[in-house]
Symmetry: C2
Subunit: 92 residues, 2 copies
């Protein structure tokens, strides 16, 4: 079953571009696994990523933003834990 990703971001913090960039990267990396990636405007410094019901990123909880590599690993762990992400997993 294809999964939904939701990226909730603070508009006042001007994180729209960051969120949209991450959305594009995730769709490009997981085109057959994601039903959709939703950009959800929020406020109050929120930056959260959910895969299905699972909260994989929370800026406040995690103490900062994930880098893109870490984000892709987390999404991969939700959609297909066995899959290799190539250079992302090798770190080259």
């Amino acid at each position: 079953m294809k999964m939904r990703v939701e990226i909730e971001f603070c508009m006042q913090c001007h994180w729209l571009l960051r969120a949209a960039w991450m959305a594009q990267e995730l769709i490009g990396t997981f085109p057959d696994d994601l039903a959709e990636v939703a950009l959800k405007p929020g406020s109050g410094g929120v930056f959260r990523v959910r895969v299905g019901d699972q909260l994989i990123v929370d800026r406040k909880r995690d103490g900062g933003f994930p880098d893109l590599t870490a984000l892709k690993r987390k999404v991969r762990d939700c959609v297909d834990p066995e899959r290799s992400l190539g250079h992302i997993d090798r770190g080259d």
Copy 2:
């Protein structure tokens, strides 16, 4: 009630960037009216935009892509028909 927008686009046609650009433009113009804008990868030359259940753009039905001004007008007509979009409505 805030509305959901869905942009369904053909991955094989490389319309991800176009869809993500439109998503950002819509969130920037209607930050308080949209619950979310979802990017939905599709195939077969599909390019559709829905506001709630309403299909406001269908590339095949409409004979092409909407320009951004027309798209914003259509979204405005769904979320708040009385609102002026300023220079978009004046055409200046």
